[in-house]
């Protein structure tokens, strides 16, 4: 026994690479268990056949992928591109993109203010931002629905009674409602990494820029933004990726009238009990989002964005 341990110790001492490997093994194990494992199950299902009543038959097939992209027309029964899936996919990407954009436009000034002007209350401000997470996500969405309803919702009542509007505005069960919900939900995901990168920003670099004649917006453009690009990248990824797969907000705040790909896929699994088709659609969703991420990160890397992360 002792000699085995001794020899193993010597091997690791002589091969630092292998040592790093063993040190990383908890991470590798974690990733395998919680990320690769479930994905593999989805991938496996996507190649199987669905039987009656949602049973699964172990006949390997590519049919689910074919059905993801080609569907029989409801009326003519002719094979056509699966416009429904593609449209909803496009809508999901567009909604996630707009959500990310709004989160950046709202989140950056907030993070900037807290990081640079928050003073000794910085941590309190950030805590306030995270505090909604202490209550259930669903409860918060319901609270928003109570605020947004027309005409009985608080916001409509406030606008009507202050005379700013004559007719109630529809803020729920449309694109506006879904966007409000998504921006609200993902804003903290944007603010936290932005705050972290702004927090780390060397204040004297900002002072130097002003001192060298940069007006506030010039300083923002040439110094602050480039130096917090790492945070911006993280914030975009952390907002965009979960936003694409959002399910609850379109269901509740969109009133099932503005659906996203998450709802479509959930319907395949639950309503249609078609786990194999749902899996194939999930695999395609994951692949496309991954491709977008890789292109984004690769371009960011090429433009020195990652170097900007100090």
């Amino acid at each position: 026994m002792r000699s085995v341990r001794h020899r193993l110790g010597r091997f690791l001492w002589q091969h630092p690479g292998a040592k790093a490997g063993t040190a990383l093994s908890p991470i590798v194990f974690w990733i395998a268990l919680f990320i690769v494992g479930p994905l593999f199950v989805v991938l496996f299902y996507s190649f199987l056949t669905s039987g009656p009543f949602g049973s699964i038959q172990y006949n390997p097939t590519l049919e689910n992928y074919q059905k993801t992209f080609v569907a029989n027309d409801l009326r003519t029964n002719e094979p056509t591109p699966n416009w429904l899936y593609l449209n909803i996919f496009g809508r999901s990407l567009a909604l996630a993109f707009v959500t990310t954009l709004i989160c950046m436009l709202l989140g950056y000034p907030v993070a900037y203010w807290i990081a640079l002007r928050g003073g000794r209350y910085k941590n309190l401000w950030i805590a306030l931002f995270i505090m909604p997470f202490w209550t259930s996500y669903v409860v918060r969405i319901f609270a928003w629905m109570f605020l947004l309803r027309d005409p009985s919702g608080f916001i409509n009542q406030l606008l009507l009674q202050s005379g700013l509007i004559q007719e109630p505005v529809q803020l729920l069960y449309n694109v506006t409602g879904v966007l409000i919900g998504m921006v609200y939900t993902y804003l903290p995901f944007a603010v936290i990494p932005l705050y972290a990168s702004l927090e780390r920003l060397d204040r004297s670099v900002l002072e130097a820029a002003s001192d060298l004649g940069a007006r506030p917006w010039q300083r923002l453009r040439y110094v602050t933004l480039p130096l917090t690009r790492g945070g911006i990248m993280s914030a975009c990824v952390l907002t965009f990726v979960p936003a694409v797969g959002e399910y609850l907000i379109p269901d509740l705040m969109g009133g099932s009238k503005v659906n996203m790909i998450g709802n479509f896929i959930a319907d395949k699994f639950l309503r249609d009990q078609n786990w194999t088709l749902g899996s194939a659609m999930s695999v395609i969703l994951i692949l496309i989002v991954m491709a977008i991420l890789i292109i984004y990160l690769w371009r960011g890397h090429r433009h020195g964005i990652l170097e900007g992360d100090f």
């Binding site: 009543f53 409801l74 009238k257 319907d267 249609d272």
Partner: protein, 395 residues
């Protein structure tokens, strides 16, 4: 089918729970008090009690949330005193010294996803009538021993067979209701379309003030078929496609497809007309007296939630004991009163508070239901077509 069961004064938390996965919280009461098997037990066949004694004294139940008497039904709150049989589970445990684990689900789909793969560990599961054939087809449930269900004679005859009895070989009716629509009397006063589906499908003047249930492939298509003069169980392609067209035309008029929040929005006046189930409409009515319920003349579905025993259950006798217990008139009355849905138990009606028994929303007249039927979930093309219509509508 996203059916919602509510207690009259309570706010259903179905939507809160639906996606959080918190639904599966067990209701486990250990250490049941030992009580002598009272005279009640005489309604239980001796061979059943013998068989129960050979099992392990446990029972796992899976039901809709807020669908059993969770509190004592007192005279003060309900106008009848049913505290001898409520809370239901506690009283059952006390009488038979059985340890019950009670879990809840928020939708039939959620329940199926847990039960279908096997190994869920449940003994008694509540299916809505249209999933019973599927449960049978998948051999999820086992045939019942009718000789053990001595209290089944209390059931109304129309729930023991046609027209509304779902497969008595396999299930025991628990509670029932109707899908129709609720409307705000003040807003639609004098509209001749009240009582007809055309109010919901052609009510252009109520644009953005109407909602349909979110289980479009069942409730939406059913309503559209009835509106067009077809049976809700119509399976041919042309009528189904026509129903799809009607739903597509209706979509711009709707505020949302929803079930979770609509009761409250009816009460506040945000929604004027909403496709809904009877019990939910009653809850809205209690908040806002202007809310009425329409049983559309063209027809709709009566649904029946029923208890069944899973094929894999190792406690069939205890499961039967539970079902026969539920069939006791006072027990059934306790549940129906607390949940505010209709009981199929004829003998139980005597114990139900006057206000509920006489409510035409909970207990519609035979005339109201003359064009009504149980919905049978189709298989194959007709099902695929319904799903495709829903996809297109929600896409």
């Amino acid at each position: 089918m996203n059916q919602e069961k509510v207690q009259p004064n309570g706010l259903s938390r179905r939507e809160f729970l639906k996606k959080t996965g918190a639904a599966g919280l067990g209701f486990y009461v250990a250490g049941a008090l030992l009580r002598s098997q009272s005279a009640f037990a005489s309604d239980m066949p001796t061979d059943l009690l013998d068989a129960v004694a050979k099992e392990d004294g446990k029972l796992n139940i899976f039901n809709w949330s807020y669908y059993i008497a969770e509190d004592p039904v007192t005279d003060k709150d309900y106008g009848v005193d049913l505290t001898d049989v409520t809370p239901t589970i506690e009283k059952f445990q006390q009488e038979f010294n059985i340890s019950v684990t009670y879990d809840t689900f928020e939708s039939q789909e959620e329940m199926l996803a847990k039960v279908r793969p096997g190994g869920s560990g449940y003994d008694v599961v509540v299916f809505t009538n249209y999933y019973v054939p599927q449960a049978k087809g998948l051999k999820l449930i086992q045939p019942l021993d009718r000789s053990w269900l001595t209290n089944a004679e209390n059931l109304l005859s129309r729930f023991q067979g046609p027209p509304f009895g779902p497969d008595p070989e396999f299930v025991v009716p628990y509670l029932w209701g109707v899908t129709g629509y609720a409307y705000n009397q003040g807003a639609v006063h004098g509209d001749s379309r009240v009582g007809h589906w055309s109010l919901l499908f052609r009510g252009n003047e109520y644009k953005n003030k109407m909602t349909m249930l979110d289980s479009v492939f069942i409730d939406g298509v059913n309503a559209a078929l009835a509106h067009l003069g077809f049976s809700i169980n119509e399976r041919s392609r042309v009528p189904l496609l026509a129903a799809g067209d009607v739903l597509m035309e209706q979509k711009p008029l709707l505020q949302a497809y929803t079930s979770g929040t609509v009761r409250d929005q009816l009460a506040t006046g945000d929604v004027l007309i909403a496709q809904l189930w009877t019990g939910d409409a009653l809850a809205a009515q209690q908040q806002n007296a202007a809310i009425q319920f329409a049983f559309p003349n063209e027809g709709s579905d009566v649904w029946v939630d029923s208890m069944s025993v899973l094929a894999e259950s190792k406690r069939p006798a205890t499961a039967h004991l539970w079902m026969n217990y539920i069939l006791r008139p006072r027990v059934a009355a306790g549940i129906a009163t607390w949940v505010a849905y209709a009981t199929p138990n004829n003998a139980a009606l005597d114990f139900i508070p006057e206000a509920q028994r006489t409510s035409t929303v909970i207990y519609p007249s035979d005339d109201d239901l003359k064009n009504y039927a149980l919905f049978v979930l189709p298989e194959g093309d007709a099902l695929a077509l319904r799903q495709q219509i829903a996809d297109e509508l929600l896409g």
